[in-house]
């Protein structure tokens, strides 16, 4: 084996070991890398009620009720729902049927008291007229929950 070959195998082996180590670390960290939980996770993963968490999902259609500066709405992942209350300024993209990530705690009545609300944008980019045409023709494939 020449020195060049030896160095080549050394680099390949090193990269494989490094990749394996990284993969193991990432699987071990698992949920730690998650930016938010879904309402379903909140039910199934036994997250301690006094822990501050971020909950992400869609703002349920027709659930937004404004009461002065306070907003009540429901976050849904289409399998589970979470009643949420927030007081403060909402981002531009906050609207019914759109993605949202809220940070806060669940109170004793099971209502999520959000202290921060971020809008989540999806990967779809299209002009306004195209979106309207799609909605009109019934080809709209948005994740707008119809429930």
């Amino acid at each position: 084996m020449t020195r060049k070959q030896r160095r080549l195998y050394f680099v390949i082996l090193g990269m494989l070991a490094l990749g394996a180590a990284t993969a193991l670390v990432l699987t071990a960290v698992g949920d730690g890398m998650v930016y938010f939980y879904t309402p379903r996770d909140l039910q199934t993963k036994h997250i301690s009620p006094d822990r501050r968490v971020r909950i992400g999902g869609l703002v349920k259609q027709g659930s937004v009720v404004r009461d002065g500066k306070t907003v009540h709405f429901v976050i849904t992942d289409l399998t589970a729902e979470l009643k949420t209350t927030y007081t403060g300024v909402l981002p531009d993209l906050f609207r019914e049927g759109q993605g949202v990530v809220a940070e806060g705690k669940v109170d004793r009545n099971g209502v999520f008291q959000a202290s921060e609300v971020l809008a989540k944008h999806d990967e779809k980019y299209m002009p306004k007229d195209v979106a309207e045409a799609l909605k009109k023709s019934g080809h709209w494939q948005g994740e707008t929950p119809q429930k």
Binding site: V11, L18, L90, D92, F94, Q98, L118, Y125, K128
Partner: protein, 248 residues
């Protein structure tokens, strides 16, 4: 590969490519900017803010492509000891750092009105920030030794180690819940972006790629000339030392 590793041949090749690549990048970026700013529709959700994407996404792509170039040439430098490969890695890191910085800043400017925050510690944003630090570390390490070849070797190992971050950046949005949206263009199936918006994006991406090639060639050329100068100076010092006793 040995054919192109010859610095003299590289210099000839670079001078042949440079006028074309610089003209092409100017052309593509101005056409891309024209479409991005004046001749493309506003988004149905984001409105005019969508135009930030035409700078943000190509810089993110190029930041990762530049790192891959750097990691590849570092591997070539470590294994085959081509002197040119070290110079390419050295030339690439400041360019990649600039693209990463542009990506982070433009993303932050987009995030404030759209998400409602300048920054979020989600997997995509954090891994991109790590990429920025990898570039800075590479630039610092390569210059941290008196002997340039030792600096190059240490930096090459850093570049290769940091390469694990590239797949993490790419797939972070699929592996974990992130605030950042998943891929629109580089995914299987149809891109979920309107053709009228895809055109300026691709023009900008091509323009940025040509710009990257241009910058890389200029910087590698400068590095070759600098190392030649160093060699000339060394021989001058050497002959001067020999000459001193004679003149005295």
């Amino acid at each position: 590969m040995h054919r192109f590793a010859n610095p003299a041949r590289f210099l000839r090749l670079a001078s042949a490519i440079l006028p074309w690549s610089s003209a092409l990048s100017a052309l593509l970026i101005s056409a891309g900017l024209y479409f991005a700013l004046f001749h493309s529709p506003a988004d149905y959700q984001q409105g005019e803010t969508v135009r930030i994407m035409y700078v943000h996404v190509p810089s993110a792509w190029l930041a990762m492509a530049c790192y891959s170039t750097m990691a590849l040439s570092s591997a070539v430098a470590l294994i085959w000891k081509h002197p040119l490969a070290d110079l390419i890695a050295k030339a690439a890191s400041p360019i990649g750092a600039s693209f990463t910085f542009l990506c982070l800043v433009s993303g932050s400017l987009w995030g404030r009105p759209m998400w409602g925050t300048w920054w979020a510690w989600d997997a995509r944003l954090t891994s991109m920030l790590i990429l920025f630090f990898l570039y800075l570390g590479h630039m610092a390490l390569i210059n941290a030794f008196d002997d340039p070849s030792r600096g190059a070797k240490a930096a090459a190992i850093l570049a290769l180690t940091g390469f694990v971050n590239i797949p993490i950046i790419k797939f972070s949005v699929d592996w974990w819940n992130t605030l950042h949206q998943p891929a629109s263009v580089s995914k299987f199936g149809m891109p979920s972006i309107d053709p009228a918006m895809l055109l300026p994006l691709l023009l900008m991406a091509l323009g940025f790629t040509c710009f990257f090639v241009t910058m890389l060639l200029i910087r590698v050329r400068t590095e070759i000339i600098a190392s030649k100068l160093r060699a000339i100076r060394m021989t001058q010092i050497h002959t001067a030392h020999v000459a001193v006793p004679v003149t005295e």
